[in-house]
Subunit: 315 residues, 2 copies
């Protein structure tokens, strides 16, 4: 199958490239390298089934032309702004990078008769919730601009499915950790501890607790849903049943870096930044019933990611 | 209070102007007159509390400048593409007219510290549902591009409330009928019967059944929610408990036009067009509990609107 992956040089996108190539597909990897990096796909550049196109998909007709030229049959759309905190400073970022990218993908698919779309959505569309939420419940009241732009994307995907015969798989991700990640709490903690190995600033009270999924588990879940669910619009929460507190992440990072007697200095409050949520839990019954579950727990995912991150930094 | 009404020369917007002026507010009516009309506000042009500004709010900083110059305290945002069927032909219309108008309003409010927003949303955000839905339930899977763009607007409003201290009232409307309406099923039926008083083409099988609310009832509901609900984000379904079939609408129009022996020619199928839903029902418990309900039933609303429409055409 000829598959186009937007954001294919990004953290999750590049792991998805790996998995799709292993399944024997031909991959058109599209990325503007604003957040993605050639380092993530360097190992694939010699593969004859892998083709990289540096492209800003929001500009002009380049994406549509590529779909037409290369006879694309399926799109995995992962391109988005992944710096959630930036969204609250400048709302135009998520509008352009997280929503308009989706609109451009949908229009290019409509104009070229491309029928299958797999989309990376997020737990952030649920906003702040007191309990684990199944896929078909509401309300959907995102509190971050990133979550808002992802819910916009889901809305448009739903309407395109019903109006233009597109089939879609919407996978909602929790926090994702693993090698090639270039931001997030693990990244921040390592950077801070390199600067000051005696004191670690922790945003909030450290009690924020969320499920963290290992990136390869996530990719296996995405592919499982795509291959085993056959509705017009297939929506799945992907995640792990367990969770990790921010303090636990700090302790794992300190431990893996071989540090001792590090003071954890909390900035206080129940959340790290405006738009953050203090805790989050998914209802995973739907994807478990389909036959998939993650291989690593949240704590295992965090510890493994810290190890990979530290090992890669030493190279 | 200095209140800005976008889409203020439109069908619903102009009735809202009337009601807000009656309450003693100063009204800045903004409209690009692409769908609205000066006819709808001509009776207000001499009122010293009413100020009309012809403006495309998606262009440049005109809206933001106006908010600043006039010390706007509250925005009623009604500007949108109201031609739902057009959205499926050209998706850019609802993106620009239904969603980007909302984004521009939110940005202008953020930049000028305007805190209160009342927004006209729609039943179309729920998509196709088997039962009446309360405000806090999902899934939200719109099937029209119009519904998608309204859900995008709600998403962004939610995020702006949580990030930038804006308070919002989101009122979800069903089908709205009444004088000054320039499209929709009543308008179409009258037009068709003027062309051929013996035969009326009815889209679908005529069994589509939905609640229709009279425009002045709707406006009273919007103002009631705004004045009596005080959360950060207040979401209400507005509507009537009763409903009307498309065949009943046809019969009411035929009756009010004084016609006899009109053949109703159904195009068939369970819906009028792609993106239409065969039936729709709201759960109105929340707004009823707040203390508001509509004064006219769905059938009364339809008959009264047909009468007003015919009377205005004769002028």
């Amino acid at each position: 199958m000829n598959i186009l992956v937007t954001g294919g040089a990004g953290f999750i996108g590049s792991h998805l490239d790996d998995a799709l190539l292993e399944q024997g597909h031909e991959i058109l990897c599209v990325d503007d390298l604003s957040l993605g990096s050639e380092d993530n796909i360097r190992h694939l550049l010699g593969n004859r089934n892998f083709h990289f196109h540096r492209m800003d998909i929001t500009k002009g007709n380049a994406l549509s032309d590529l779909m037409k030229d290369k006879n694309v049959q399926c799109v995995f759309h992962l391109a988005a702004n992944s710096d959630i905190q930036q969204g609250a400073v400048n709302p135009a970022i998520d509008l352009e990078r997280t929503f308009m990218t989706t609109y451009k993908v949908l229009e290019a698919m409509r104009l070229n008769g491309v029928k299958d779309l797999v989309f990376s959505s997020t737990s952030a569309i649920y906003g702040e919730k007191a309990k684990a939420i199944p896929e078909d419940e509401g309300p959907l009241q995102p509190i971050s601009l990133y979550g808002a732009a992802k819910l916009c994307s889901e809305s448009y995907i739903s309407a395109y499915c019903h109006n233009f015969g597109i089939r879609a798989w919407i996978c909602r991700f929790p926090n994702v950790v693993g090698d090639r990640s270039t931001h997030g709490v693990i990244y921040d903690f390592v950077r801070k501890l390199n600067q000051d190995p005696k004191r670690l600033e922790v945003l909030g009270d450290g009690k924020q607790h969320k499920p963290y999924i290992y990136v390869k588990d996530l990719v296996s879940g995405i592919l499982f849903c795509w291959q085993n669910s056959h509705e017009l619009l297939n929506v799945y929460n992907l995640g792990v049943d367990s969770e990790t507190t921010v303090t636990e992440i700090a302790e794992i990072v300190v431990d893996e870096m071989g540090l001792k007697d590090v003071e954890l200095a909390y900035t206080g409050g129940d959340r790290g930044w405006k738009g953050d949520v203090p805790f989050f839990a998914y209802d995973l019954n739907k994807v478990h019933a389909l036959g998939w579950s993650a291989s690593r727990t949240s704590n295992e995912a965090v510890r493994h990611s810290v190890r990979m991150f530290l090992a890669n930094r030493k190279k």
